[in-house]
């Protein structure tokens, strides 16, 4: 492959990668992508000479001017977002450049545009795809710029020396002779590109970790795609959650640190992620009728959610939430503390809300008290007094509601003595007597819950929860509907729970005066998410683990993590040091302590110090004994250094030692030393040049003099006296100083 072909190939690899990166954001329409792909292909054909046609500069200018009107129309008339308009414009301008016979400036323009495409992609996607594509782009870019530089330099030189083409021969330097080579291959350039890329990535990693951050890492990705999620507002129509359950898109990932006693011998306890609570049912939809959420005061980076004392038993949950069009903050029940949110508000249904995050991800942590209360404890709660607000909101039944619901509740709970027993009976009845389905077809009009309970006898979680709430309320138990998510699929590779829209769920919270709101889930087990096993699941888990690592350590990397990393490094170094402490420290600590006492006593000058510098007990006692070890260490170190220096000097001066014994060998030795020194300066004696010719060519007095000495000894068989040996040493030293 010629250099020109290499350069064109790598350039188009770079353009293609930039294009693929933008395509991977899924922000662009198929037509734009297809047209640009055509332009890219045509450009390749033009530059490789397979296509004779190319667009002229004049025509390209007119087309560009015309496109500006089209871009304005896209923005104003068709209402496209500015980002898409800009992307279309960039594609169009790049296509025009690609369809021309390119000059050096055109290539540079295309490189800059491709780089801008990379920047835009960084603002529009945060998953690991970006990383892989960036690496491919970097490899292409390194190859491209290396090839472009050689191409440009060769052209520039040829232009200034057009009258005399220069032919270059290549020779390989062997031990004995030179061997003629052909033209050098470009394999070394490709190898350099790979090596250069590896070095760039190795250097970029610590730079990335060390650069100062001024805001949280997840934020400000203003061009991210937003996931639409329904069912989590203050008014939810019955059936909306079921719609959400049809979507497999990931909503969030949760890393959970369980309380020690919740592991149940290794099995993780099931949690649910609370979203919104709804209290008013009008027969078709559930609504929140409480006052507006109240904003909580931020202390540092956290929001305290309970006034009571903290219990040691809590569960830590760290949420990585995708950009969503809702403001709900998901967490396990009974949250105690929230960290990492820009703002937090809480409503009277204990729902949590934050600032909109349609275009950026959220990374926050919640600490919750997830200790379960035993039924026996709840059974002891016989209190029936309810606050008026509780009664008003959580005992509400819709006007004209089906009375059969109440009768069914009475029938199911006949004989139940406690509230908890009532709740459990209703829950159990719904779980066992009804089927789970996502099929939303209704047979009769009217109350959908009644239709579910008495006619279809099958439904999804919303119906089960709604039915339980109505049945509890008909029995006088305050209850409310909760919309949220099931725990999700556990990924052991990443140690996170991946929560998808299909994990959306509805359940019930019933009020127990002594305990508060207690959760019940009447949905049959068939309605709970089941996750597959096998190779695909394993692959999915590892891909998500990579994704998590990318999100946590790259996309979400911030100042806090930098500090944490520094502390971790310090702890690691300390642990390394402590590894050797036990072996060395006992002696070191002893005499360091002695040294400290000596210092202290010296300062006090006579108060308790008997001034014994030389103790009778041996070198380990007294002041001398205390500093004995470092002195000995220093002494041996100096001896070692001296011996090393001595040996080194002897080795370096070996020709002088030989001078008195073997003249020829000493002459060769110092002459070779001179040649080595000159070689470092770029002067190598060719094999066909005699020492005298070489010296004459260099015109250096020191070289001439040494060469004379060499010839005197080597060929004249005249010994060197001490002065001459010293003179040679001086000349060699001067030569080395200059090199």
């Amino acid at each position: 492959m010629s250099l020109d072909r290499f350069f064109i190939f790598s350039s188009y690899a770079m353009f293609t990668t930039g294009f693929v990166m933008l395509a991977a954001t899924r922000h662009l329409d198929g037509l734009s992508l297809a047209l640009f792909a055509v332009g890219l292909s045509a450009g390749w054909l033009i530059d490789t000479g397979r296509l004779r046609w190319s667009i002229s500069q004049r025509r390209a200018n007119w087309l560009m001017a015309g496109y500006l009107f089209f871009a304005a129309a896209e923005w104003q008339v068709f209402g496209m977002s500015p980002v898409i308009v800009i992307l279309h414009f960039v594609f169009f301008a790049s296509s025009l450049k690609l369809l021309r016979k390119k000059t050096g400036r055109d290539w540079l323009w295309l490189y800059v545009v491709t780089f801008c495409q990379v920047l835009m992609t960084a603002g529009m996607m945060v998953d690991t795809t970006f990383l892989f594509l960036l690496i491919v782009y970097l490899f292409a870019a390194v190859s491209t710029f290396a090839g472009y530089e050689i191409h440009r330099s060769a052209l520039a030189f040829a232009a200034s020396h057009a009258s005399q083409p220069i032919v270059v021969e290549y020779w390989k330097e062997g031990k004995a002779e030179l061997r003629r080579l052909g033209s050098p291959r470009l394999r070394s350039l490709a190898l350099f590109s790979a090596f250069g890329l590896a070095v760039i990535l190795l250097l970029a990693a610590p730079l990335f970790l060390a650069m100062p951050r001024v805001s949280r890492g997840f934020s400000r990705n203003g061009l991210l795609r937003t996931e639409t999620l329904s069912g989590f507002s203050d008014s939810v129509r019955l059936g909306e959650v079921a719609q959400v359950k049809l979507n497999p898109q990931v909503v969030m990932r949760v890393r959970v640190r369980f309380m020690p006693d919740e592991r149940n011998g290794g099995e993780r306890r099931m949690l649910r992620w609370r979203g919104v609570t709804l209290d008013h049912y009008d027969g078709q939809s559930w609504n929140y009728t409480g006052p507006q959420p109240v904003f909580l005061r931020k202390i540092g980076d956290s929001f305290r959610l309970t006034e009571g004392a903290w219990t040691r038993q809590y569960t830590e949950q760290r949420f990585f939430v995708e950009p969503l069009n809702i403001n709900t903050v998901f967490a396990a029940p009974h949250p105690l503390l929230a960290v990492g949110l820009p703002e937090l508000a809480r409503d009277e249904g204990d729902g949590l809300w934050t600032a909109p995050h349609e275009f950026h991800k959220l990374d926050y942590t919640v600490f919750s008290n997830t200790a379960e209360v035993e039924d026996a404890e709840l059974a002891q709660d016989g209190s029936r007094s309810l606050a008026s607000e509780i009664q008003r909101r959580y005992l509400q039944l819709p006007e004209g509601h089906d009375r059969r619901i109440g009768k069914l509740a009475d029938e199911v709970t006949r004989g139940a003595k406690t509230q908890i027993e009532i709740a459990r009976r209703i829950e159990s009845h719904l779980r066992t007597a009804y089927d789970y389905t996502l099929d939303l077809q209704r047979v009769e009009d009217g109350d959908p819950v009644a239709d579910f309970l008495f006619h279809t006898r099958a439904g999804h979680c919303e119906y089960f929860a709604s039915a339980m709430v109505l049945m509890l309320r008909s029995r006088g138990l305050p209850a409310r509907l909760v919309n949220g998510f099931q725990m999700g699929e556990y990924n052991d590779a990443a140690d996170v729970y991946t929560v998808r829209q299909s994990d959306a769920h509805s359940w019930v919270e019933a009020w127990f005066p002594a305990r508060g709101w207690v959760a019940f889930d009447p949905t049959p087990p068939a309605g709970l998410s089941v996750y597959g096993d096998g190779v695909m699941a394993w692959l999915r888990h590892y891909r998500e683990a990579l994704e998590m690592m990318w999100l946590e350590h790259v996309v979400g990397f911030d100042t806090g993590k930098q500090i944490s990393m520094a502390f971790t490094a310090q702890a690691w170094v300390s642990s390394l040091f402590s590894t050797y402490k036990w072996n060395v420290s006992s002696r070191w600590f002893d005499w360091v302590s002695k040294l400290a006492r000596l210092v202290e006593a010296w300062r006090e000058r006579g108060s308790g110090f008997d001034g014994k510098f030389f103790a009778s007990g041996g070198p380990s006692d007294g002041a001398l004994g205390v500093i004995f070890h470092p002195l000995m260490l220093a002494f041996f170190g100096v001896m070692l250094a001296s011996v090393a220096a001595f040996s080194w000097r002897r080795h370096r001066q070996s020709w002088q030692r030989k001078a008195g014994r073997d003249r020829a060998a000493s002459a060769i030795a110092f002459y070779r030393e001179m040649l080595r020194t000159l070689e470092r300066r770029g002067h190598k004696r060719a094999a066909d040049r005699t020492p005298a010719e070489f010296a004459a060519g260099l015109r250096m007095p020191a070289v001439t003099e040494i060469t004379d000495f060499y010839q005197q000894v080597r060929f004249g068989h005249q010994p060197l006296d001490d002065d001459e040996i010293a003179r040679i040493g001086l000349l060699l030293r001067d030569l080395k100083k200059q090199s």
């Binding site: 920047l119 032919v167 020779w171 070394s188 250069g196 990397f557 400290a596 220093a634 002067h683 260099l698």
Partner: protein
């Protein structure tokens, strides 16, 4: 055996440096351990002592090391336009990253910064361990193309050499125009895209020099913008030498009007009583009968005689007096006249040498002595190449050439009046002034 002890200073330096370093390390270690065991006073004392020793080391060792160290100033860096654009991009991404907090932009920034470093390191590495040599002819004439064989060796074991431009840095000496000012110029010789490791590239470059003179070679400049064109590294490779460009001899017909006296001598020089046959002509009454060529006579039926060359003591002295008054030297046309004078001298030398005449060149820098042959010719041309106008305080500085009395033909080229060399016999001396050229 104890010769190395003769260099007491260096041995003492090593000894003291080692002791100081070990002591500083030992005290620092003590300080660290003291901190571990809670002896904070000792820790404080030890750290201060270690710092003090470090300061002593800096004061004692570093200057001495710096004296021995040859700080490599052979490398220089230049940032071309592409590099300016690249660094502007880095700045732009920096601002975007800091303002947005987007970690992916930070990632791009880190990659850009790493790329800048790799660019610098790779171009620097590219220029290491290279050797450049140039061979050119010993005799170069002005206006003629001369082959320069450039050899670039890549001494690196593994790393190829990419995108190298080799230039020669030489002084542009134009002595006739202004003997004082000399301007350096860099002449690009060859561009090499790739040289494999442990290989060399050879190229033949044709160069021509418009003017005669001496062009001292200050060294080579090896330049590269590899790998990305963002940074241009330049390395100066020291070398010494000079390119001597001889004046280009012209046909003497060009100077015919200046050499009337010489014409006959030039022509008559070739006819004499030597032993080499010059021509066969018709007999004249003054010819000796021994010179009759009977064979030619029989052929032509007319008496023919042999004519021989003159090979005994035919000598020419060319004296070039570069002395000139300051006012004359300042004249705008003087440089051209001086060059024509040099060219005339070179033409005469070349002509007479070609004719086998013993030629001597006298100038203020010395006497070449009589000689024949090309080697002698080149020596004289070399001297002519180096001649510069000589201006003294009295307008006629420099030594006046001394003329021995036994010459047969003298040609003086000077700018002074004829009486500047008044001790020369006028009848056998052809004087040519610069002003006549």
């Amino acid at each position: 055996m104890f010769r190395f002890f003769r260099r007491k200073k260096s041995f003492r330096f090593v000894l003291i440096s080692a002791m100081l370093t070990v002591a500083a390390i030992g005290i620092a270690l003590i300080s660290a351990v003291a901190g571990q065991v809670g002896e904070y006073e000792l820790e404080s004392l030890g750290s201060k002592a270690a710092l003090g020793l470090a300061l002593v080391i800096v004061v004692y060792v570093v200057p001495r090391l710096a004296q021995r160290l040859h700080l490599n100033s052979d490398f220089s860096i230049h940032v071309p336009n592409a590099g300016l654009i690249f660094f502007a991009l880095i700045l732009m991404v920096t601002i975007l990253s800091l303002s947005s907090g987007n970690n992916l932009l930070y990632l791009v920034l880190a990659v850009l910064l790493a790329t800048a470093f790799v660019s610098w390191a790779a171009s620097r590495l590219d220029l290491r361990r290279i050797a450049v040599s140039v061979r050119f002819p010993n005799h170069i004439f002005a206006g003629e193309s001369a082959p320069f064989d450039v050899t670039v060796s890549n001494r690196k074991r593994l790393w190829p050499l990419f995108s190298l431009t080799v230039a020669m840095w030489e002084q542009d000496s134009t002595p006739a125009s202004n003997p004082v000012s000399e301007s350096a110029r860099v002449t690009e010789l060859v561009y090499l895209p790739i040289i494999p490791a442990r290989a060399q590239a050879r190229a033949r470059v044709e160069r021509s020099f418009a003017k005669r003179g001496v062009y001292p070679i200050n060294g080579f400049l090896a330049r590269t913008r590899f790998p990305f064109g963002f940074i241009e590294h330049c390395r100066y490779i020291e070398t010494t030498g000079e390119i001597v460009v001889y004046p280009q001899p012209q046909p003497l017909d060009d100077f015919r009007r200046l050499l009337p006296l010489l014409q006959g001598r030039i022509e008559s020089r070739v006819k004499g009583s030597g032993s080499d046959l010059y021509a066969i002509r018709q007999y004249l009454s003054s010819d000796h009968h021994h010179h009759i060529d009977w064979k030619a006579t029989a052929k032509t039926t007319r008496l023919m005689v042999r004519e021989y060359t003159r090979d005994d003591d035919w000598r020419v002295t060319i004296a070039f007096d570069p002395r000139v008054e300051k006012e004359s030297a300042a004249a705008p046309e003087f440089a051209e006249k001086f060059e024509r004078a040099i060219t005339l001298a070179a033409s005469l030398v070349s002509h007479f040498i070609r004719e086998g005449v013993e030629v001597r060149l006298l100038a203020t820098d010395g006497d070449s002595g009589f000689g024949i042959g090309r080697a002698h010719c080149y020596r004289m041309l070399d001297r002519l190449a180096r001649l510069v106008p000589a201006t003294g305080e009295d307008g006629l500085g420099g030594r006046s050439p001394v003329l021995p009395p036994d010459d047969q033909l003298r040609i003086v080229i000077a700018s002074a009046a004829r009486n500047s060399l008044s001790n020369w016999p006028m009848h056998s001396t052809q004087t040519i002034n610069f002003e006549e050229l």
